[in-house]
Symmetry: C2
Subunit: 346 residues, 2 copies
Amino acid sequence: MATTIKDIARMCGVGVSTVSRAINGHPDVNPVTREKILKAVEETGFTPNASARSLKQSETNNIAILVKGYANPFFTRMMHRMESSIAHRDCQMILRYVDNNQDEVQQAISLCTERKLKGIIFLGGDFEHDPQELSRLEAPYIFSTTGRDRRSTSQGVDYANVSVDDFEASKMAVNYLIGLGNTRIGIIAEGLNIPSVGKLRFEGYKAALKENGIPFDDSLVFEITEGLDHYTMENGYKAAKTLLRNAPDMTAVFCISDVVAIGACRAIADNGRKIPKDISVLGFDGIDNDMYFIPRLSTVRQPVDQMAQETVSRLFDLIEGKGKPESVLLPAELVVGESTARRSAS
Amino acid sequence: MATTIKDIARMCGVGVSTVSRAINGHPDVNPVTREKILKAVEETGFTPNASARSLKQSETNNIAILVKGYANPFFTRMMHRMESSIAHRDCQMILRYVDNNQDEVQQAISLCTERKLKGIIFLGGDFEHDPQELSRLEAPYIFSTTGRDRRSTSQGVDYANVSVDDFEASKMAVNYLIGLGNTRIGIIAEGLNIPSVGKLRFEGYKAALKENGIPFDDSLVFEITEGLDHYTMENGYKAAKTLLRNAPDMTAVFCISDVVAIGACRAIADNGRKIPKDISVLGFDGIDNDMYFIPRLSTVRQPVDQMAQETVSRLFDLIEGKGKPESVLLPAELVVGESTARRSAS
């Protein structure tokens, strides 16, 4: 009778999953144990039954990731970190991009009917969904980078999510711009009428103005509504052009993401204004490349690696039945580059 | 008792997998057989058990994409276009990132042993591989953006690939820089000792110099070797800093990718030189954002959407047994932004 993986495990005094990891070359196996296992495999002539294994694994090893915002380099890095973390757990990442006009939960439900999933990660998108719809998801799920509105009193469905406190981080950012001497502060916003991080950041902007007795002015607000992905340089460019026309006395602009801020910088330069002398530009995200742009971008940095790790590890806790879905809040920090500066007295 | 897929198979005198393929609309079923099967399904009122179907389908609907170069926004867009094209064909994209020090074919082989794949796309990476290793891939595969060395006389294994002609495109780019009046042209290169697009682009650079009687000078060459991903702004920044030190009379620099070029621009600005007055910078790829950077980046644009489409459609041709693996060459074009200009007489 042919040797099975169980035989190998028994021979080596280890678990089946250790044998599997050793055979598949995963790094998290003790080198001595690995040697022993590979020797046993060789001696017995054991060949893993690929098809049986694939059937077995296909039931349980797919982690779907639904990404809303494909052009955002912040997500690119999140995906890279998540993928390696998922592969480390012997699982595969199924990638599905969700356009801005699509519903990510609907997409996940349709993915669930197509194939069995072990878990689901929502990267980007809304933070509030119909509980009925969420209940149709046939696997544990977690929302990443999409923080809930903690000030809301409505009791929604409990679900897991990992994010920064978008409201507070945004308030801190705008307070910083006010502290630099700005009172005419524009915002390039997004998703104002849906439960999105864009809306939370907008609320943080308004709260900072209010705290400092600065009147809110509609002409300083631009809401991005165009494109399959709202978070793009192109949208930042168009938005800043409009703001410069509508509010020519604007001296600072807060952007809901770094890519939007880069586009805004370009529009301001094309308008003949100097950054930061004439106008300060502040982003949000903290992408790797901020320090290589001209000018180096000031931003609110989210802890991208920690967020990716926390998302995957919380999801696997749920998969393994450990604990309940929770909201995890990670700290954001202000990083000052060259795109913001104190206003000189005029 | 409910009709099972085995009953249908027995009734039609075919195997279970043929029934499954017919139900799932796969093209590789004889039309007469398909008719017979679908008729039997209708007559018996057989409804495929979703979970069984998912098991069965999971064998065949996975397209793996192995991405070498996670930080490259050029690939981000490729992935987005490929994913929608793959989803459109009722398949799922399994994403695996490959670090620069890993072998993408080895990774694909290991993915094949973990699960059954319908097809494999290699995005980035080398264009030459051990035929023995390639033969271990249990699904049709295609290399994307990694063009072969067409000037090589060695007869390698036949495989499908889609790319621009990296050698010719690079020669054209450097000819353009020479035409602007530059003779001291640096190159930020990559992968010079492996069969990579980086090497092809370097050969194109050397050929252009030779054609124009400009001596090749080692001090104008920087080869990126650091990091899990070579194509980053950080590497472009470090490379340009070194070139500025080693060859202070350099008046132009050709970069093997746009992200590398952005980093180089930043290093040149930090060095107190003006772009393009003192130094012209030319990239390669043609990412969406080139026109939003300061300065707008001149580049060699690859037809990203067409490359993505062609890759997926050629892969599905192979999966469906249509045609043989072929090399597809798509045209690259020079796009002049603000980072290159004619040298003023000094």
